[in-house]
C-alpha cells in the first residue's frame, strides 16, 4: 500500500518578520508569521487596520524586503532573491491593490498597460500580444473598445477589472489581493467578487485575499487567518471559524459583523471590545491581545502563546494562539469555551 502523497504547499511562509523604521520608532508590522497556501485555494487574511495584513501581503510578493524568516514559493526560497532573480517568479506571483486609481499608469492606454506583462516576460509576438490583450479585456467583462482608453476614462469598477486583468495576464498560480473591493460601491463590489471567483474557477489560481470586510472574506475564502498586531492569532477552515471562533479576538471580530437581516432574526451575541488597538511600536508583553481580552489570565501578560493545534489529535487545519486552549489547569477550568458562545454579553 502506498501512502497518499501530502500535497505540496504553493506558498510557505515561515516566521516571517517585517519591521518598519519610522521617526517615532520601529513598527513591528509582521512578527514571526507562519502559514501556508495550497494550490488553487483562497486563504482569507483578516484583521483591523494596522494589524500588518497589507505589509504581510506586500512582503510576500517582495515589494518589501523581509527582515527575517522565509518565503517559500513553489518550493523555492524567494525571501532574498535579487530583483533580477525575482523576475521569472513574478510571472507566477501577482498582486491586485486596493486603489484602482493609483495602481494604473494614467499616461498609458489600457492596451499598453495590459501588453506590458507580455513584453516584460517576452511572451508571444506583437500580434499575439494584441490578441491576448483583447482576450483578457473580454475575460474581465469589458468591451474591446475599452482597450484604447486611458484609466481616467473608466469607472472605479472598470479600472479594478483592468488591474485584475493585468494580474492574471500570465496565468499566475498565486494572486495576492489587497482589499480589492474596499474602494468600490456595493453593487460594483458584487461584480468584482463574482469576477474573481469565476477567474479562479477557470484558471485554478490560488488567492491570498486580504480584507477588513469579514463578510466578503467569508464569501470568497476556503480558509481564514486572523491577524492582530503583527501576528496570526487563529487560522481555520472558513466554516469552522464562522460557526465557532476560538480566539477571543476572533470572537469579538465576528460578533461585530452587522448582518443585513430583519431585526426579528436573532443575532450573534455581541462582544464589544473595550479600548483601542495598542501601538504596534510597543506591543503588549505576553499575548498581544491581553490588554483587551475579556478572559485575560495572569499567564497571558507574561508568556506569548504559540499558534498551535487546539487539542491533541485534531487536524492540523485549525490552529489558535491562546492560552485558553493550551493544556493548562486554567484552560481546563473553562470548558465552555469549546462549546457554544463564550462571549459575555455587554
Amino acid at each position: 500500500m502506498t501512502l497518499p502523497m501530502k500535497p505540496q504547499p504553493l506558498l510557505g511562509v515561515d516566521r516571517l518578520v517585517k519591521y518598519h523604521a519610522t521617526p517615532a520608532g520601529t513598527v513591528r508590522a509582521v512578527d514571526k508569521v507562519s502559514f501556508e497556501v495550497m494550490p488553487g485555494e483562497t486563504l482569507g487574511l483578516v484583521g483591523e487596520s494596522g494589524c500588518g495584513k497589507s505589509t504581510l501581503g506586500r512582503t510576500i510578493v517582495r515589494l518589501h524586503e523581509p527582515d527575517d524568516g522565509s518565503i517559500l514559493f513553489q518550493s523555492n526560497d524567494i525571501s532574498h532573491l535579487s530583483r533580477k532573480a525575482l523576475r521569472p517568479v513574478r510571472r507566477h506571483l501577482q498582486m491586485v491593490f486596493q486603489d484602482p486609481f493609483a495602481s494604473l499608469n494614467p499616461r498609458r492606454t489600457i492596451q499598453q498597460i495590459l501588453t506590458e506583462p507580455f513584453s516584460v516576460h517576452g511572451v508571444g509576438s506583437r500580434r499575439e500580444q494584441i490578441n491576448r490583450v483583447n482576450e483578457l479585456v473580454s475575460r474581465v467583462g469589458l468591451h474591446s473598445d475599452h482597450a484604447s482608453r486611458y484609466p481616467h476614462e473608466l469607472s472605479g469598477g472598470q479600472r479594478q477589472r483592468i488591474a485584475i486583468a493585468r494580474a492574471i495576464a500570465l496565468e499566475p498560480s498565486l494572486v495576492v489581493c489587497d482589499e480589492p473591493v474596499s474602494a468600490l460601491d456595493v453593487s460594483i463590489q458584487a461584480q468584482i467578487i463574482n469576477l474573481l471567483r469565476r477567474l479562479q474557477e477557470e484558471s485554478g489560481a490560488a488567492y491570498l485575499f486580504i480584507s477588513h470586510d469579514l463578510s466578503v472574506v467569508g464569501y470568497l475564502a476556503d480558509r481564514i487567518a486572523v491577524m492582530y498586531l503583527g501576528e496570526i492569532v487563529e487560522i481555520a477552515p472558513k466554516r469552522a471559524l464562522w460557526t465557532e471562533p476560538l480566539h477571543p479576538y476572533t470572537q469579538a471580530l465576528f460578533s461585530a459583523i452587522a448582518e443585513p437581516l430583519p431585526p426579528s432574526v436573532p443575532r450573534r451575541k455581541r462582544s464589544t471590545l473595550t479600548g483601542d488597538l495598542p501601538s504596534p511600536m510597543h506591543p503588549p508583553s505576553g499575548c498581544r491581545f491581553h490588554t483587551r481580552c475579556p478572559f485575560v489570565m495572569p499567564k497571558c501578560r507574561e508568556v506569548a502563546p504559540a499558534l498551535a493545534k487546539v487539542q491533541a489529535g485534531t487536524t492540523d487545519a485549525r490552529r489558535v494562539a491562546c492560552h485558553l486552549y493550551s493544556d493548562t489547569p486554567e484552560a481546563a477550568a473553562r470548558p465552555s469555551l469549546l462549546s457554544g458562545s463564550p462571549i459575555p454579553a455587554t
Partner: protein, 330 residues
C-alpha cells in the same frame, strides 16, 4: 406616516445644482420624510444617489454659488428652517440639529486641543462661563466613553486614534443636546470592532437624550442593526421607505432588492451556501443627464418602456411603507 411626536418633517424638499453649462438640475428631488423622537431613520443608497446632498440641504450647508433650494419645507418642530435668515440658521446648526461626518480627522481642527473644540461649540450657542463650558466638556467626554477625560482634554486630534476622534466629533455634535443628529457615514472610516462601539454609543445617547437620528450609510448590515426605518434614495429621489422589519423581509423596489442581493450574507457563509452575488449592471447615472423616466430603468431587471416614459410617483403600500416603482406589486 404622520406622527404626533415628529421632530423633523420634510416636505417636498428639492435642491438643484448648477452644471458647468449653467443648467440647473435636481440633486435632491421632492423628498418627504419624518423623524420622530428616539427614532433612527437610515438613508441608504450608493455613492452619488444624493444622500449626503439631502443632509447638507437640511442644514443648508451647500455653497450658494452652485446650489439652490428649489422648493419644499424643512420643519423642525413646526419651524421652517428654509425660511430662516443665515444668522438664525447658524443658531440652529450644532444646537437644534447637529451633524457628524465620515472622516473624523477632517472635521476636527488640528491646531486646537480636543477639549477646546468641544467647549467652543458650547460657548458658541450658550451663555455660560468658560469654567462651566470646561466642566460640561469633561462630562461630555465621559458620556461618549473617552477614558481619562482630564488628560485627553489637552491633547490634539492627532494624539487620538480614529475611534477616539470620532467620539470627540460626537461629543461636539451633542454638546448642546440637539433634537436631531444627522450622522453621515459615521463609521465608514473605522474598524469593525470600533464601528460597533460608536454605533452603540449613538444609539444609547439617542435614547437617553430623546434625539431623532438620521443615519446616512451604504452599509445595509449597519442599517439592519441600528435603524428603525429605512429610506432608499436613488438619483436624488426617495424610491422606497419602510420600517426595518418590512424592508429586510420584503423589499419592494427592484433597486432595494438588488442592493440586498449584492452583499455577501454571513448566514449563507455559515450554512455553506455559496451562490453568485447579484450584480447591478451599469452605474448610477450622472444627475445632470437624467431623462424623464425612472432613473433606475436602465439598470433594472424589470425595466420596460412604461418605466422610461414617466418618473414613477411615490405611493404608499401600507400606512408606514411606500415605493416609487410602477412594477412594485400591491
Amino acid at each position: 406616516m404622520m406622527n404626533s411626536t415628529n421632530l423633523l418633517t420634510i416636505e417636498g424638499l428639492s435642491t438643484e445644482f448648477r452644471s458647468p453649462h449653467k443648467q440647473w438640475f435636481p440633486v435632491v428631488n421632492r423628498i418627504d420624510l419624518q423623524v420622530t423622537v428616539g427614532e433612527t431613520l437610515a438613508v441608504v443608497g450608493e455613492s452619488g444617489c444624493g444622500k449626503s446632498m439631502l443632509a447638507h440641504s437640511i442644514l443648508r450647508l451647500l455653497p450658494r454659488r452652485i446650489a439652490r433650494n428649489a422648493g419644499g419645507r424643512v420643519l423642525l418642530e413646526g419651524r421652517d428652517l428654509l425660511a430662516l435668515s443665515e444668522d438664525e440658521m447658524r443658531g440652529v446648526r450644532g444646537k437644534d440639529i447637529s451633524m457628524i461626518f465620515q472622516e473624523p480627522m477632517t472635521s476636527l481642527n488640528p491646531l486646537m486641543t480636543v477639549g477646546q473644540q468641544i467647549a467652543e461649540s458650547i460657548l458658541e450657542h450658550e451663555q455660560c462661563s468658560v469654567q462651566v463650558a470646561a466642566r460640561r466638556t469633561l462630562d461630555l467626554m465621559e458620556l461618549v466613553g473617552i477614558p481619562e477625560p482630564r488628560a485627553r482634554f489637552h491633547q490634539y486630534p492627532h494624539h487620538l486614534s480614529g475611534g477616539m476622534r470620532q467620539r470627540i466629533v460626537i461629543a461636539i455634535a451633542l454638546a448642546c443636546r440637539p433634537k436631531v443628529l444627522i450622522a453621515d457615514e459615521p463609521t465608514t472610516a473605522l474598524d469593525v470592532t470600533i464601528q460597533a462601539q460608536v454605533l452603540a454609543l449613538i444609539d444609547k445617547l439617542k435614547r437617553e437624550l430623546g434625539m431623532g437620528v438620521i443615519l446616512i450609510t451604504h452599509d445595509l448590515g449597519v442599517v439592519a442593526e441600528w435603524a428603525q426605518r429605512i429610506m432608499v434614495m436613488y438619483a436624488g429621489r426617495k424610491v422606497e421607505e419602510a420600517d426595518a422589519e418590512t424592508f429586510f423581509t420584503s423589499p419592494r423596489h427592484p433597486y432595494s432588492r438588488a442592493l440586498l442581493a449584492s452583499v455577501p450574507r454571513p448566514n449563507d457563509v455559515m450554512n455553506g451556501v455559496v451562490k453568485p452575488l447579484a450584480e447591478i449592471t451599469g452605474t448610477v447615472p450622472p444627475l445632470d443627464r437624467l431623462g424623464g423616466g425612472c432613473a433606475f430603468a436602465d439598470r433594472c431587471t424589470m425595466g420596460t418602456d412604461a418605466c422610461r416614459s414617466g418618473s414613477p410617483a411615490f405611493r404608499l403600500l401600507t400606512p408606514s411603507s411606500g415605493v416609487a416603482c410602477i412594477h412594485a406589486g400591491n
